[in-house]
Symmetry: D2
Subunit: 362 residues, 4 copies
C-alpha cells in the first residue's frame, strides 16, 4: 500500500535503486502450475536493456534476473516469486556532481521535499532502471495471458515530428526502435543522431494493443479496466498522457459517429478501444501514451541547489535521446500486469456466470 | 477491493443503481474535527445535478443528500461518514424497451458478459448517476484541502470544434457551461441547440487545476500522484483520455524545451503539470481529459439483442447532448479525492521530514 | 482501509453510530445470481436483536433492514449491496450524564484520546449495535456458503462458571441462550436473574463450527484461514481471546498426541480445528472465543471525567448481564465473512488446480 | 493481497522456501531518516536462529541478512527496503522420503489440495524458516517504536506442564529459553532432554508485552489493535490460540471485577490488556499465545501418501522438541509490526487531534 506494489490479486512489489546493490521484485498471486524459467524473463529484459542498440544509452547492465522462490522443478507453486537483478555497472562517480543540485525535469527536487533524504546516484529509486523489474514481472503475466489466447504488443508510433503511418505488428520486433512502419525507421534514426550531436532529446508516442481479451474483464465503478490501465501506464517514468481508443479525438466526434454499432457478425468499429463502461468488450484493447523528452541532456540549464541557490546544470553520463524506445517493453509489461489482475478478479467473483449472448468478437 | 472503493486512507465506497431505491456512499478515513453539514455537500451536488440548465438533460432529481453517520454536533468524528440520496424520479417505464437490447456505446453488452444479469433500467450501476456520490464525497475532500490552502477547479475547455481560447478561472462558475472563456459560450450554446435538433451528441475536453499543493505529495513508484489522478479521471463515465501538464504535446518537444528550469525565484515554466517523478512539485497540478459524445442519441443505430439477433436501436429518454458539461464537478471531485488521499499518505510516512530546501513555488 | 472494512474479495464496510440516524453497510464483491431478499437478512438480524428474550437488554429496536442496491428482480447483480437500518428507538436522553465522564471498561476514554471528539450517546460507533450490520452482511455470506454445502453454527458453551457439557448443534437454536446443552440452560437462566438483581454482569464462552469447508482454503503466510478468523472474531465487541482447535490446551500436549494422524478413511482426530498451515484440511473448522462481562453495570465504580478529575460512575440504561448470548449470531456472521472471502480467493488463484489426492474428510 | 503481505502502511511482504535459494522480504512504508544497518537486523535474527542453543534444532543456518535497497549512507530513504538471506545449509536429501507422503500435523496435505503442487523440501513455504524474514522486518519496526518510547518483549511462560511462576522481564534474554522465571529453567531443560530421548515434542505458551504505547492507537471497527494483533500472532506457525489481557479468564469474571476502574492517578487494574474498544489505553499491551507441539517427531505415525494410500511416517531430520522457544523473537517481531503500522495509521488520520484529557498512564 505504501506505493511500491501494483495489482490486487496478481501483486507486484518492486524495490531497489539505480545504483544500489540490486533491484528486486516479489510477484504474489501467480497461479500454480505455470512452467517458468529465468530464460522466460530474460528474453523480455533483454529487449528493454540499455546498451541494446546504438539508439539507447551506452550504459551496459547485464540485467541477469534470478528467480529466488515460488518456482519448483520448473513450475510455479502458487507461493510468491522473488526476483533479483544484481547491479553490476554502477559507476557512482558519474553522479557525484549532482549530489546537492537538483536536475530540472527530474524527481530530485520533489524527492528532497518528500523524504528530506535521497539516494542521488543515478536518480536512485526514481530512475527508469526500476522498470526492469516491471518487465520481469510482466513476462510472467504475459505468459499466463498467452495461455488464455491473449497477446500484448506495443510499438513506437511517433518520435518528435516523425509519425509511423501505420503499425505493422509483425514488423515491430524486427527493428531496434520497435517501430511498426518500416518507412519511419530511417528518419527516426537520423533524428536520434542529430539529437546526440546536439546533446538534446525528444518525446515519443507509443501504442499498445491487447488482442484476445474476452468480454467481461474490468471492475466498475473505480477499478475499470481502462482506469487501471491509465494508472499503470501513467506510472511509467516520463509518461504524461494516456488515452484509450480514439482518445482526445473523441472531443470533436459526434455520438452517431463514435458509438461502436454492433451486428451479430461483430462490432462495426472500435472507437472505444475495446472497453465499454470500464469492462472489456472483446475487441482489441488499444491505448496510446505520450513520453516526455528526457531531461538528462548535455545542454546547460538553470536550477537550484539543496539550499536554494541558483546553479547551472549539465547532465553528463549515458542517456537516451528518446526514452520512448526503451519504454516499449515496459508498456507491454504494465499492460500485461493490468490484464492478468483483472483476469483473476473476474475469475473470483464471476467464475460461474452464464449468458446466452454470444461473444460477437469471435 | 472488488472495485467500488477509491482511495487508500481517505476511502470512498459508492453503491446504488440509476433506478434503484437510492444511491449511497461511505467515506472512511476523514479526520475528526472537520465542520460538516449536508449543505456543504448539497452545494456541490447542485452544480452537477441534471435539470440544472437548459443544456443538460431535463430529468430532474432532487438529489438531496443525507449524512447518516460520522458527524456529531456539526463536526466529523473520525468514524465513517454514510451518505444517502433517495432516487425520487425514476420513470422506469422509459427503459422497458431496452431490456433485452444492448445500446451501442453503452455498458449493456459488457455487463451482460461480465455478470450474466443486469439492472437494465437507465444503465443501472453503469449510469453516470453513480457519480453523484463521488461529488458528495469529493465535497468533503475539497473542504479538507481548502483548510490546507488548496483549491481545485475544473472548466470546460472544448466542446466539439469549439475551443475555449483561455480559461479565466473566475469566470467558470458564472455560466451554466462551466466555461472560462466568455466568447466561447455563445457558440457552444448554439452547438447544443443544433445537436438537440439533430438528436445527436458531441465530445468535450475538460481541464482541472489544483493550486496550493505543497511539494512532496505522491507515492512512487506505482501510486504516483499523476498515476492515481489518471486512474481517478479515467474512472469517470465517458472519459477516454487523461493527460498531465503538456500531455500529448510532449511528443514533439525537445528536452531543452520541456524540462522546467528552476531558479530561487521559482520554476521558469510548468510543462510538467506540477508533478515530477510522480510527486507534486509545488506548482499547480494541471490535467486535461477527453469525454466521448454520449451514445444515448435519438438517431437510429444497429445493435444486437440478448440472444445475438440484429436489432435497430433508438435511445429515447432524457439525455445530455454533451456530457462534458455535467462532468465538470465530477472532475473536481475525483481530483479532490486523489489529493486528500495523498495528503494523508504523506502525513503518515513523512510527517517528520525536514529539509533545508525552500519551496520555490511560494 | 481506514478500519471499517472487512475482507478482500467479499468486502463489507459498515457505518453508523448507536444513536445516529441509521446503521448501514456496503457488501462489495458478492457474486451475481444469488437469490436474495430482505427476509433472508431479517431472519439473522432477529436472532441477534435486543429485546429478543428476557435475558438480553430490554431495549427494542425493530432493526428492519432495507436492501438499497445490488439486487434486481430478486437476484444479486454483482454490484455493491447497500444495506440500511434506521435507528428508531434512540432515547438519547439516557446518555446525557456520561457526556463528559468515561465509563470504565468502555471505549470512551480511548476514543477521546484517538479522535479528540466522540458521539457519546450509547457509545456511538463503539456500541455493539454496529454489529447488526455484520449480521446482515454475514447472512449473505452464509447463503453463498450454504450453496457450497458449508454450514456455520455458533453456540454459547459457558456463562460464568456454568459450562455446557457438550454442544448438541440441533438444540442450539431451540433456546433463547443459544446453548447446546439443555441441562445448562436452567442454571444459566438462574445466573442471569441473579446478575440482574445484583446489577452485575458475567463473561461467556462461545464455540463456532463450520462444516463442509473443502480442503485448500486459506492464504499463507499471513492471510491464513485461522489468522483471518482470529482477527474477525477478536474484532467483535468484548472478545478477549480466540482459539482454534484445541487452543490453549495444546500447551501441555505432546506431538505424538496432537498431530492428527491420517488414514485413507479420514483423519483420526481434529486437534487442529480443521486448519493446517493456515489452510483448511476438510475437517470441521472449530474456534472458541471468550467474551468479557459487560462494563455497563449498575454498581458504582471509579473513573475520571474529560478533564482528568475523579468521578463516580453508574451505568444506567438497558444492558445485557451477559453479552455472550447476543454475540452468538455475530460470531456466525464473522465466521461466514472469513470463509466466503477465502472461497473467492481460492477461486481466483487456484481455480484450475488438480490433484490426485482424495479429500479424506468426505 | 494474495496473502504474503502484512500491514497497511508499514507493509512487509515475504518470499522464499525453506530449501530454495533464499528467503527475502520487502519492507515498504518505513519513514525516511531512520539509522539502519544490517547489524540491527542480525542481532534479532541471531536470537531466533536454529542451532542457537542445545534446546533447539541442530540445523545451522548462518542467516546472514543483506539490505538490498532503501538505505543510503546508513539511513532509510523512505523507499522500499529489500532484505535477503541466502539459504546455505539446505541438505535437500533429508527430505526425499516425504516427497509423496503427507506428514500428519503439517501443511503437506493442505498445500497439495490448495495448489496441486508443492515444494516438499523441508515444508517449502510452510516451514517456520519463513519467519526469519519477519524477525528481520520486525527489527526495523522495533527500532522505530523504540524512538517513540515503546518497548516490546516476549517470554516463554509455559512449556508442557511447567509454568513460569512470574516473568521477570530483565531475566528473559539471559537464558536460552527466553524464560522470565529462573526457577522454571532447570525443569524445562530437563523436559527437553527427556523429549529428545523420547523423540517427542511439547507445546508452549508465550506472553508478549508492549510498554509505552500511547492511548489512541487502533482503528475501529475491524482493524482494532487487538484484532490485528490476533491475526499477526495467529499467523505464526504452530500458534493455536491468542488472548489479550485476561483472555479466557474473563469468562468467569464479573463486570464489577473486570472493568478497569480509573482515577486521575491511573488505571486501578489492567484486565483489558491495554486495549479498550480496539484502541490502546496507554496501559501495557499484553497478549498470550499457545503453540502446539511440533508434529516433526521421530515416533512413527499413520498417514497417507499423495494417492490416498495408507503409509507410516517418521519425521527424521533436525527439529525442535519445543518450537515455543524459537518463537519468542517471532512473537516480538509480529507485535512490533502491528504496532508500527497503527502508529503510522494514527498519524495519518489523527495527526492533529487535541484533547484536554490527560494520559493517566503516564
Amino acid at each position: 500500500m505504501p506505493g511500491n506494489s501494483f495489482g490486487q490479486l496478481f501483486q507486484v512489489t518492486t524495490f531497489g535503486e539505480s545504483h544500489g546493490p540490486s533491484l528486486g521484485a516479489v510477484v504474489d498471486g501467480c497461479p500454480p502450475g505455470l512452467e517458468l524459467s529465468e530464460a522466460d524473463l530474460q528474453e523480455a529484459l533483454d529487449r528493454r536493456r540499455p546498451g541494446q542498440s546504438r539508439y539507447t544509452t551506452a550504459r551496459r547492465e547485464a540485467d541477469e534476473v534470478r528467480i529466488l522462490s515460488g518456482v519448483f522443478e520448473g513450475k510455479t507453486t502458487g507461493t510468491p516469486i522473488g526476483l533479483l537483478i544484481e547491479n553490476t555497472d554502477q559507476r557512482s562517480q558519474d553522479y557525484s556532481k549532482i549530489k546537492d543540485t537538483f536536475r530540472p525535469g527530474h524527481a530530485d527536487y520533489t524527492y528532497e521535499h518528500k523524504y528530506g533524504i535521497r539516494d542521488y546516484r543515478g536518480g536512485g529509486r526514481s530512475s527508469a532502471r526500476e522498470t526492469a523489474m516491471r518487465v520481469a514481472a510482466g513476462a510472467i503475466a504475459e505468459k499466463l495471458l498467452a495461455q488464455q489466447g491473449i497477446k500484448i504488443q506495443a510499438a513506437l508510433t511517433q518520435m518528435g515530428d516523425i509519425k509511423a503511418k501505420d503499425t505493422d505488428w509483425q514488423e515491430v520486433r524486427n527493428n531496434e526502435l520497435f517501430c511498426g512502419d518500416v518507412n519511419a525507421i530511417e528518419p527516426m534514426q537520423a533524428l536520434i543522431k542529430q539529437l546526440l550531436k546536439e546533446g538534446d532529446s525528444v518525446g515519443a508516442r507509443i501504442r499498445v494493443q491487447a488482442t484476445g481479451v474476452p468480454p467481461g474483464w474490468g471492475e466498475p465503478v473505480f477499478d475499470r479496466l481502462d482506469a487501471d490501465l491509465a494508472k499503470a501506464l501513467m506510472s511509467i517514468n516520463a509518461v504524461k498522457a494516456v488515452s484509450v481508443g480514439d482518445g482526445f479525438d473523441v472531443v470533436t466526434q459526434k455520438g452517431s459517429e463514435h458509438r461502436d454499432e454492433m451486428t451479430k457478425k461483430g462490432f462495426l468499429s472500435n472507437h472505444s478501444g475495446g472497453v465499454l463502461g470500464g469492462i472489456s468488450s472483446g475487441q482489441p484493447v488499444i491505448a496510446d501514451i505520450a513520453l516526455k523528452p528526457t531531461s538528462s541532456i548535455s545542454i546547460s540549464g538553470q536550477t537550484i541547489d539543496k539550499w536554494g541557490n541558483d546553479q547551472p546544470v549539465v547532465t553528463k553520463g549515458r542517456h537516451d535521446p528518446c526514452v520512448g524506445i526503451r519504454a516499449v517493453p515496459i508498456v507491454e509489461a504494465m499492460t500485461s500486469l493490468v490484464l492478468v489482475d483483472h483476469w483473476l478478479r473476474q475469475r473470483a467473483q464471476n467464475a460461474q456466470v452464464k449468458t446466452e449472448t454470444p461473444d460477437i468478437s469471435r
